[in-house]
Symmetry: C2
Subunit: 204 residues, 2 copies
Amino acid sequence: MSSRQKILDTAAALIHTRGFYHTSIRDILQAASVTKSNFYYHFESKEQLAFVVLGERMRQFYAIAIGPSIDNHELGPLERFEAFFDRILAIGRSEAGELGCPFGNLAQEISAVHEPLRRVLSTFFEACTEAMERCFEEGMGTGVFPPELPAKQLAGFIFAQIQGAFLLRKTYKDPEVLESNIGMLRGLIRDWSGRPRSPTMPSP
Amino acid sequence: MSSRQKILDTAAALIHTRGFYHTSIRDILQAASVTKSNFYYHFESKEQLAFVVLGERMRQFYAIAIGPSIDNHELGPLERFEAFFDRILAIGRSEAGELGCPFGNLAQEISAVHEPLRRVLSTFFEACTEAMERCFEEGMGTGVFPPELPAKQLAGFIFAQIQGAFLLRKTYKDPEVLESNIGMLRGLIRDWSGRPRSPTMPSP
DNA sequence: GGTTTAGAACCAACCGGTCGGCACTATCCG
DNA sequence: CGGATAGTGCCGACCGGTTGGTTCTAAACC
C-alpha cells in the first residue's frame, strides 16, 4: 500500500477512536510507519488531511450503506429501509461500531470550533436525510405510505435516532442499545406504512 | 465569586464549546483571570477538574430538567413527559443549546479514551433513562399507558432521540431540528397512551 | 529523470504540572 | 496583651515534554 493511503487509513482509524484534536500527526505517522517529511510531501497540513480523510470516508459510507439500500430502486420503499437498517446494524455490531459513528463523532467535536469542516458534515448529513426523504415520497406516491406523511420530518427523526443510538452504544459500550433502537425504528416505519407491527412493539 | 467557582464556571463553558482535550488549563485560567498556581491550589489536576465540573453540572441538570418534570409526582405521567420536553426545548432554544448537550458532547469525546469519566456519564445516562422508565411504569399501572408497553426500551429510545437531536441541532446550527424531533416524540407518547395525536403527526 | 521515500535536525508555541515564596487571618500559648 | 504558629488563598517563574510545521540531504523506485 502506498504511503499516502497508509496515512489516510491510520488517520481515519485514530481520529475515529481518539478524535481529531486529540490525535497528533506524530501519532498517525508512527502508527503508519511513515516519516514526517513524507507526510508533508502528500498533505499540506493536518487540517487538509482531515478534509481528505473525511471526503474519502463519506463516499465510502454512502456507497456501502445508502447506495445499495435507500437509493436502490430495485427494492420497494419499505424494503429499502429494512436493507438500510440491516446495514446500520452490521456496522454497529462490528468492532469499529464500538467507537460510534465517525461522522457523528467528528460533527460533535468540530461543529462549534471549525466552520469549514462543520459545513462539509452538515451537507453530508443533509444528503443522507434527503435520500430517506425521497424514499418516503416515492412510497407516498405508490401508496406504500399514506400521502399526508411529513417525509422530511420523519427522515430527520430517523437520522437523529441513529446518531443518538450510536452515541449511547459507545457510551454504554453495549451493542444491544443499537439493536433496540433500530428495532423501534423498524416498528415505526411499519406503523407509518399501515402494515402490522412486529410482536415486540406496542400497538397504540 | 470565589476563584474556585470562577474556574468551575469558565471551565464548564469552555469545555462545552471546545471539548475537554481541546481546552487547555491556560485557556480556562486566562478566561477566568486566575493564575495557574491558584488553579493547582484548588484542583489537583485537569482530570480531577473534569470530574468536579461534570458532577456539578449533572446535579444541576437533574435538579432543573428532570426533578420538576419526570420525577414530579404531582403530575400525571403524560404531563410529566410534556413538562420534560418543555424543559429540553427551553435548553435547546437557549444560547448554550447551540453547543449541543454538554453530557452528550463529553460522552462522545471521552467514551473511547477515558474509562473512569465514561463510567460516570454512563451511570448518569442510565439514571435519566430509568427516571423515564419509572414514569412509563407508573402510567402503565394507572391505565394511562397500555400494560404491555416495553417501558425500558421506550425510555432508551427517547433518550437516544434527544441526544441525536441535540447533535444535529449543533451540526446544522438550527434550533428547528430540535423542535421538530421533540414534536415527533410528543406525538409518539400520545400514541402510546392511546390519546388522539396532534394534527401535524401522521396516523398509522 | 521525475516521483516518492527516508532520515534527521530544527523551530516557536504550547502542554500539564511544580516550585518557593508572599500576604492575610485565625488560633493558641505564655 | 503580644508573639509564635498554622492554614488559606494566591503569585510569578519555571520545568520537561509535545505540538504542528519546516528544511535540508540523499537514496530508492518506476
